[in-house]
Symmetry: D3
Subunit: 238 residues, 6 copies
């Protein structure tokens, strides 16, 4: 319970982060058994980025970014800093100056269950940030907290060293110990999707490609030529 | 009440869709007597598009996009698929693979009272989608539903064959039987606006152009030179 | 309490608006003692703008933009029109035609605690608008209200003549009588940030640059090499 | 599209309303195939009521309750008035005076996709109202609309004569033509639940009563004595 | 701009507060020209109360209730303390201990654009509090602010000495200088409502009592016996 | 990552739960260093309860309560079941039948980051439930998940065996290993509050009792007799 900073964490092999960065958040989420997705209101401040790296976590008091500063100090190049707050807050915990530090030290991205400011400057720098809000509300540096303990961010549990994948669709967390399996599941999924995509491009539909017609029948979904034929259904459903 | 798919619907003449596509959502909404507007949280995933087409409707169980697949199967080139859910949900019901099918079959757009994923890919493909959220949350294909029955989407009632107009301002529904009248009302509105625009560009204001000064007077809105002259009003209003 | 329009207001010297426009909303907010920030849901409809000017205020009935029309009539070139509503509303109070008037008369921007429509057109014209929503919902011109009385917009109090600064981070209000002091505080802040930025770019971190290590110690934040060393903390914090 | 009032509607037999009133909203919703549920933010202003009756519908302009007045004029004893608005609004469309009229004429309840005021008085009178908000915001009586056309309320489509069931759990709509079938489905459901309840009261659990153990096994849900035995799972799930 | 406490404020005559307390928030809001209403999410923590008194205002930093403590020190018996925060927050700024102080000193109520805790104890004590949330989130006492300056609370501007009326419908602010006029307008309104109530209790409807039939006609609202007679309207409106 | 049920968990000594149940959520939250608080939108369905017990956790797919059924099977008398969902959902996962099972087996309460239905029946039974919503939306029993792994509920991390305290103020989680220390901190807090309460009841204020006057002075908060004396401050703060 005592506030603390933990300097060293176990990180998955860099290959795994590189591999996951090649897939999108949507693919990784499906391949993880639909686990680890952050809430959809955690949005990219700098659109068009796709990143992956091991999490360095910070748990901050709302409106106070002191522990984010402490997290930067212990993060390695390639890491993703993930910031949770003790209770709901949208104050702007990161701005251009903090992003400058992160960029200079090779930190890959910052994810916050809070706000970000200097949004135009962040876009100019191209430093990737995902946050709940864009807010110029200033923060203080006065309250103790934690670095590199398990936290909650955007409704997902993040442990130090877990892999964070983020792009324009949002953010997903992959447990360090599952990363290898998830990469393999992503590969399988993409291979299958590639095959399907070609058929779709030629005008086939998923009812045929994914063999859904028998399922519809099994579920009792009748097909009628017209509303009239379907009788009472024409305007009977809501 | 029994789940079903209705294959054939009545569609307004293609001219009407083309005509409405030439006006914006704001103009069409005003010309429709301010009816049919979807909630402002139905936003474009792919900005910069303006579309119009007859609705093919799907009513899905939350978190299950089976009936969207079934809707694609019965949609014609030029149609707009509109997806309602039985109760509130933001899961990502459409992604790049479904959009590929739609694009290949000439479907004009998909509107969802739910989420969309693969947002970067959708933008790249230029396939227009409007949704309540961008969310990578995966969906299943397991629950029966309806295609081409009246639904609710974004607080608007949509019947199969109604015309959907959508652009960066949002989405509006025009009842099939009203489409012709709405086109004419749009034309009248635009003509009047064109005349006004020129006067505004030359520095005239709407108080004069729209003759609002007598209205203000009739409503009892006094004009004072200064706050002091207005007396107690200076800081008395909230 | 009686509805009225006040034509003439006191405006701070134009130098002050120019100076504040050179700083961002985030800097001005901090330099103002963290006062005057509008809620983060007041967002730019036209991104990439930074403006500053004295406020001409309008207090409208929800869904009725009559007093915005009246405000345009009394605004000077360089002014920013700020629109409050009597109670919560997101209807689209401003569109392309109103923006055309404003642009022709040299009005710098419009800020609304309500919605905006014709968002694509506004972006094309490059006329800066900040609003709570993009909504095509039409408004009427039928209810009396006020121009140039103190109002509430986006949770901030705005008095006629106060300076409004707005950019991609949002909107902040600077009391007319504080403007000079805020400019000086911004300059001091920026000078200090420039010095720090250089050190950050060379790889230093804020724990050193801002001398936060002694603060962490004073607050009792312990540092451990590993989770194991920290004992029960490894997964004990939420 | 032209505003109008329709005086006479078809109502299901009174027996059906009486029967549905005997079941809760939760039971009716399940028995309807999970159709017709209003959003959970439509809440009872007067708790502890359970009502059912055929819908008389009103479609109002936001902030204007004129058509609610018109609906009272054509409603019969036993009816439920359901009010939709053209776009989102929480103004207080009903208060004690309107409730007095309704009560005197035997109207059973009012459901609004808007706000209600005089909440203490409504509770004292015991007149049941469900609404999106409690708000003292006043409304006008100035805009034309519709009575007894299909509307959207709380995300559900309501046609005149559909049966409305409401209690502390919210509001559900039953299509007139489905009412009989839904009553039978409710009866079957309640009978089954009564049998199960007794077993639960004696300490049995649903894994046995509903025979879910084989399902868990089929779905691949392993059971372990301890977290240690489950290995990596102990803190690996989020 | 410098933080400060102002000890003495002008208060309207006690008669006016007593008079307004006799009317409800809904009546006062209408009688004030629909001004001064707080957002509907400012709700009573202790239901069933109706209060009125002059405002002592506090402007706090989010998550810091220091200035509420300072406000108690300068409040008189009969006053209502109104707490604004610099930007959005729901932390629990008042609990049972602060309420005890207030009650002992004759303070009538506390209104917060923030959270309240110890809700059960507040109900037991019967001390009236209106707040945006019930939240146990603790606050600090570390940041300077203001007492008795104009603030924003729940979207309404509150100046020291303005009269606050609050009940189960919410909170409304009456400008000190308007109080007398508002009392008279309330009396007129109530007298008229009393007359109408009697007619409603005897089964008359507002279409007749308020003479709305000619208005409907003027607005072009047609009346039809049946949907069939109304033609295309039957299911044509959304 | 594989779905599983863990039957046996470590529970803190029953004394600790009993002790914490004696304090309120607000006190426990403060005594825990302001950790572990669930979001304020997790509200009591049955008001007036205060409970404490060790957590049995369930991680469910949205709209599917299968794992809640599995959790009941492994819970002991005195336990509190805490249900997380993989992503945001308000469907009614618990109703009267599930509550009956829980009550019969001595389960103390159920906390859900989802909805509850049969709210009137739950109140009648007096079975305590905290949830994000009251919703009749039905759920299925078809998707695998987890019992007794760490989960996220209401923004707080909950590990099996952690102590859950809940009352009308909301829900707070106390890490099992911290429970003893938190009890002691609560006792100290209550003792101090008891002393202060007496002084408050006799009319003293916290500025004196908590010695805040020197703090205000140190923070530069000036005191003025009147607004006039404070000069520019009178209406200069927002």
């Amino acid at each position: 319970m005592k506030p603390c900073v933990i300097r060293d964490i176990l990180r998955p092999e860099a290959d795994l982060a590189r591999a996951l960065a090649g897939f999108g958040v949507a693919t990784v989420h499906e391949a993880s058994g639909q686990l680890g997705l952050m809430r959809p209101d955690i949005r990219p401040v700098v659109p068009g980025k796709r990143i992956c790296g091991p999490a360095v976590t910070a748990l901050c008091h709302p409106g106070d970014n002191l522990m984010l500063h402490a997290a930067i100090d212990v993060a390695n190049p390639g890491d993703v800093i993930v910031v949770g707050v003790k209770f709901r807050n949208t104050d702007g915990m990161i701005g251009e100056l903090i992003a400058t530090q992160c960029q200079a030290r090779g930190i890959v991205a910052v994810i916050l269950d809070a706000g970000a400011r200097d949004s135009a400057e962040l876009r100019e720098m191209g430093f990737p940030v995902w946050s709940r809000a864009i807010s110029a509300a200033g923060t203080s540096k006065a309250t103790p907290g934690w670095v590199n303990v398990p936290i909650q961010c955007g409704d997902a549990i993040v442990r130090p060293g877990d892999l964070i994948v983020a792009d324009d669709d949002g953010v997903v967390v992959v447990a360090a110990e599952d990363a290898e399996e998830v990469v393999r599941a992503c590969e399988a999924r993409v291979a299958k999707e590639d095959a399907n995509r070609k058929r779709f491009q030629q005008g086939e539909v998923s009812l045929d490609v994914s063999n859904l017609r028998p399922l519809l029948e099994r579920l009792g979904v009748q097909t009628y030529a017209t509303a009239g034929e379907a009788g009472q259904l024409a305007d009977g459903v809501r």
